[in-house]
């Protein structure tokens, strides 16, 4: 008898490649022998477009990188610009940024949880997570006027102050979140079928994770304590008390469950920020026409997917000479081809889901 390897093309139109990601698998039965990822189906050339935009005009484009965490993408950019221009951000603005950023992080992790539940076949968990994410979306809409593409942060501050009723709504959501998380744990995490599907699947060792420049929950699931909010605190994260949840095995289950744990920690940060929220201006004194001096800056923040870095080069004009985004999903995916070898086709979907990629960010 002779067996033959089969070449199967997963994506760009496939229900669970989280967008238009494509991976060409060589299968032996149902086992992956070789994989070849082909990203780029959502490449819009944002870095090229930005060469012809002024500095404030860059902002709406950053929303479209990781469209599930638009505020964090905004933050990454303004953070780099503030480093380039040496701007001091007012206290209130920093607190608002932390509150909104952490809300966005919870929203992004909710989508990751939801999508992962859907990837392993439990559609009810998917709907439950989206139901609760809706509250955050409402809050972001309330503050910024848009749900997915907020364009809320500005160089040196934020676009507008928090509206009336926001604080109560936020407080209410934070109080509600633990019950919701308990529900997810009961329905998804605690389910034995789910655990069998995810535990011991595609473990990544800590050394390999660091070597492959993985970041975010994927890196921490392998037990590496590297969260920029603690390791190199930006903004005012050094003033909050929170823990960095760590995994031990680095398998799919750890990567999934870490996000659920991080939601609780984010809620803790929001609670402290709401208590401490000072009065004052929300914008630093920034010239109307932004013209940074010749130079370059690279700054990183901890986005929900990992380390979001922005590299800005200024030639002294009103337009950036070059902007480069270090997109966490893109770099994390670099390890994907190697990781899925030897696993079943159903595991490929589970592993991809545990990476929590957003194609807007991967393809830029």
């Amino acid at each position: 008898m002779k067996t033959q390897e089969m070449l199967i093309n997963v994506g760009p139109q496939h229900p669970s490649t989280h967008g238009v990601f494509r991976v060409v698998l060589t299968l032996d039965g149902e086992t992956v022998v070789k994989a070849n990822s082909v990203p780029g189906y959502l490449h819009r050339g944002i870095e090229k477009i930005l060469e012809s935009r002024t500095y404030p005009q860059v902002l709406p484009y950053t929303d479209r990188l990781d469209y599930l965490a638009g505020l964090l993408m905004n933050w990454g950019y303004v953070n780099a610009m503030e480093e380039l221009m040496d701007t001091e951000v007012p206290e209130r603005a920093e607190h608002i940024r932390v509150i909104m950023g952490e809300l966005q992080r919870i929203a992004s992790h909710l989508v990751a949880t939801a999508a992962y539940s859907g990837d392993v076949g439990g559609l009810t968990g998917f709907i439950y997570c989206f139901r609760d994410r809706e509250d955050i979306m409402d809050m972001i809409e309330m503050v910024s006027g848009a749900r997915l593409t907020p364009s809320y942060m500005r160089i040196g501050g934020v676009a507008a102050d928090l509206p009336d009723g926001f604080l109560e709504k936020c407080q209410k959501f934070i109080d509600y979140l633990p019950t919701a998380i308990e529900e997810y744990n009961g329905l998804i995490t605690g389910n034995e079928i789910f655990q069998h599907r995810t535990k011991k699947v595609a473990p990544i060792t800590a050394e390999r994770a660091i070597n492959m420049s993985l970041s975010g929950p994927i890196l921490r699931a392998s037990g590496v304590n590297y969260d920029l909010r603690k390791a190199r605190p930006y903004s005012i994260y050094d003033r909050f008390e929170f823990d960095v949840p760590l995994g031990s095995n680095g398998d799919c289950f750890d990567r999934f469950y870490l996000r659920v744990l991080e939601m609780t920690e984010s809620a803790r940060i929001i609670r402290q920020a709401l208590d401490k929220l000072p009065d004052g201006p929300i914008n630093a004194k920034v010239p109307k026409i932004i013209k940074p001096a010749v130079g370059e800056a690279y700054a990183e923040i901890e986005s929900s997917k990992g380390i979001m870095g922005v590299y800005v080069v200024s030639d002294g004009s009103t337009k950036p000479y070059r902007i480069h985004f270090r997109r966490p999903s893109f770099i994390n995916l670099g390890h994907f081809d190697e990781l899925i070898q030897g696993w079943k086709i159903a595991d490929v979907i589970a592993i991809l889901g545990s990476f929590d990629i957003v194609l807007g960010e991967v393809d830029c």
Partner: protein
């Protein structure tokens, strides 16, 4: 109420006989009427089940579900069917056209054939076969061949993967399904479905054979390709498996056949374990066929509830579960049942 269908059949027979037709013609026309009645019953139930599944999933997921077509959206399935009928049937290149088109037609045959021997109520059975259980097990597994046919002729790798899974899954789960029924047959001493029901007059089989019921339920979920064992379709991995290339009515047939299968396994579960059309607590003023329907829908709700709670297993885990857990458990169950029966009978005499 109780004998409304039996009386109707008798009435037709009397009418035809009084018209002076030969008895063969009368028999044939009575049989035809009964089969048409079963067909209508199954189709109506299947349409209702599609609607019910959508409603149940919606309610579990904090939604309302279909609510636009008709009161509470009750005509949604009919609207969907009309839409699917009006759609073009796309036949992929390089396929065996005849087999490709034959598969959706054939898929209804196994469940329909089995319905011929199932009792729908007291005295309401089209064909009271004395080896009904055997007949059910033999025919129900035929749908494997049809789904394999659909997957193979689609000329699509996802379909191929799906149909491979079908064969592996159906053939494996056939074994525990069969073994779980053996316990019931041992106790009742008959393979006739009506006989099994009447044997449960004093106590339902679910109380004597709880393990067998559990095994039957799990195997039935696998046999009907529903979550957590819906690897055949596994929409997040292999799109819709063997049905990926089907469109329009071809797809609708597969879709509806799944519900016909659900109806069938639920009906058998109620017949084998829940006392069929027997009324519990002496509530005999409710007709027997309503009792059967109530039990069937209870089992169906259970299946839907599973589907919208659990994630999907992986192929190797599913096979391991079948051969390492279910089959040994079923065999042990048969042994225990046999010994129990022997002891019980030796004590009695």
């Amino acid at each position: 109420m109780e004998n409304i269908f039996v009386n109707a059949a008798g009435g037709i027979r009397n009418l035809l006989e009084s018209a002076g037709l030969p008895s063969l013609v009368v028999d044939i026309s009575i049989m035809t009427t009964i089969f048409v009645a079963i067909l209508v019953f199954v189709l109506l139930n299947v349409l209702w089940l599609v609607y019910m599944e959508r409603k149940v999933s919606a309610y579990i997921q904090c939604r309302i579900g279909p609510n636009r077509v008709g009161p509470m959206g009750i005509f949604q399935t009919i609207a969907d069917t009309v839409k699917l009928i009006s759609k073009e049937i796309i036949i992929p290149k390089n396929t065996n056209k005849k087999l490709f088109l034959l598969a959706p037609v054939m898929i209804f045959m196994p469940p329909m054939a089995v319905f011929a021997v199932t009792p729908f109520g007291k005295g309401m059975v089209a064909l009271d076969l004395n080896i009904g259980v055997y007949y059910f097990v033999a025919l129900a597994s035929l749908s494997t061949v049809v789904i394999w046919m659909a997957g193979w002729t689609s000329n699509n790798k996802y379909s191929l993967l799906g149909s491979m899974r079908v064969v592996a899954q159906m053939v494996s789960y056939e074994v525990p399904l069969l073994l779980s029924i053996v316990g019931v047959v041992l106790l009742t001493g008959t393979m006739n479905l009506t006989g099994i029901i009447t044997a449960q007059q004093s106590v339902w089989m679910i109380f004597l054979q709880p393990v067998a019921f559990l095994i039957y339920l799990i195997a039935a979920v696998a046999e009907t390709n529903r979550t957590p064992f819906d690897l055949v379709e596994g929409e997040s991995e292999i799109i819709t498996g063997p049905f990926t290339e089907y469109s329009g009515m071809g797809f609708a047939f597969f879709f509806l056949a799944e519900y016909a299968n659900v109806l069938l396994v639920s009906m058998l579960a109620s017949i084998l374990f829940l006392g069929g059309w027997l009324a519990p607590f002496g509530l005999t003023f409710i007709p027997s066929w309503i009792w059967l329907l109530l039990k069937v829908y209870l089992v169906i709700f259970l299946l839907m509830w599973f589907r919208w709670t659990y994630p999907r297993t992986r192929i190797d885990q599913m096979m391991a579960f079948c051969w390492k857990v279910l089959v040994p458990l079923a065999i042990v169950n048969i042994f225990v049942t046999g010994i129990g029966k022997y002891l019980y009978e030796s004590v009695r005499w």
